[in-house]
């Protein structure tokens, strides 16, 4: 059964999805040295939020299909919407990548935080995978009045 979500709900879910990942990574890299109960609980809540918003946004709803389906499975107007979302995604990803590289170079020279361990590198890579896989659908969720 396909669900229909209002634009407002979709926008909130998109924000929560990305923000929960960023905070989750922040927790991992900074706060989990002693593995206190409260920290593990916080981590669990964030993980549930991340997975929950992902399921809420992309499972049993047309969004994921709209962002990733081949042309044959979509109508002409859907292809238009999908391709437009890829254009925005491309601009966002290329800009983020450039900013990321500049920030890394500055951080490296200025002795600021920089993903230097395997775990930190992994966190960045998984974040990039999450972002790049979901961004076209997230942009559709953010922009479209009706899905």
């Amino acid at each position: 059964m396909t669900r229909i979500l209002s634009k407002k709900k979709r926008r909130v879910a998109v924000m929560l999805n990305y923000i929960s990942y960023v905070i989750l990574i922040f927790f991992f890299s900074n706060l989990l040295d002693n593995y206190q109960f409260i920290e593990i609980a916080g981590l669990g809540i964030l993980a549930i939020l991340l997975v929950g918003t992902f399921i809420y946004l992309y499972v049993n709803i047309n969004l994921w299909n709209l962002g990733n389906a081949p042309d044959n499975d979509l109508g002409e107007s859907q292809i238009k919407v999908r391709n437009e979302s890829y254009r925005y995604s491309y601009i966002v990803i290329a800009t983020l990548l450039l900013l990321g590289v500049i920030c890394m170079a500055i951080a490296f020279d200025a002795g600021l935080w920089f993903p230097s361990t395997y775990e930190e590198g992994n966190a960045i890579v998984w974040g990039a995978i999450l972002l790049t896989m979901t961004l076209p659908s997230a942009i559709i969720a953010w922009n479209e009045k009706e899905i």
């Binding site: 999908r82 391709n83 890829y86 890394m104 170079a105 590198g121 960045i124």
Partner: protein, 142 residues
């Protein structure tokens, strides 16, 4: 200036352009890590590869109008051109993210410090030429 260049020639041009870009980065990295190449030879190679890169860029992207088309505001393109460009961007997105993820992951695994300025510039250049490359590669008439 929009020249009619056959699709085969465009494809060859795109291939040469991308190979030149890879070679440019490779030679820079070899010089940087002082692996198996002298500075004089490296700089000569960079000069040669740069000329090939610029020449193939002008031939494939400027003369054909692919660069203009892929960077034009959608308001200035007709309906068919908009669809062609957006479709090219969709393919470029897939190629670009796979490529950048490999690079980011590679650097994270090797722990070689930040992605250096040459790779950053190459990625930026690639982000700009990819849609034009897909156009030059796939469109029968440009």
């Amino acid at each position: 200036m929009d020249l009619r260049i056959s699709i085969n020639r465009r494809r060859i041009g795109v291939t040469i352009n991308i190979i030149a870009l890879f070679l440019l980065v490779l030679v820079f990295e070899l010089i940087k890590f002082e692996v198996g190449i002298s500075k004089v030879l490296g700089i000569s190679l960079i000069g040669f590869v740069l000329i090939v890169l610029i020449a193939s860029f002008i031939y494939v992207f400027v003369y054909t109008g692919a660069w203009n088309m892929s960077h034009q505001k959608t308001g200035k393109l007709d309906e068919r051109q908009i669809q062609v460009v957006l479709n090219a961007i969709r393919y470029s997105y897939s190629i670009f993210i796979i490529f950048t993820l490999i690079i980011i992951y590679g650097f994270a695994l090797l722990e070689k410090g930040p992605v250096d300025v040459v790779i950053a510039a190459a990625l930026l250049y690639m982000a700009h030429i990819l849609p034009a490359s897909v156009l030059a590669w796939t469109e029968k008439e440009l």
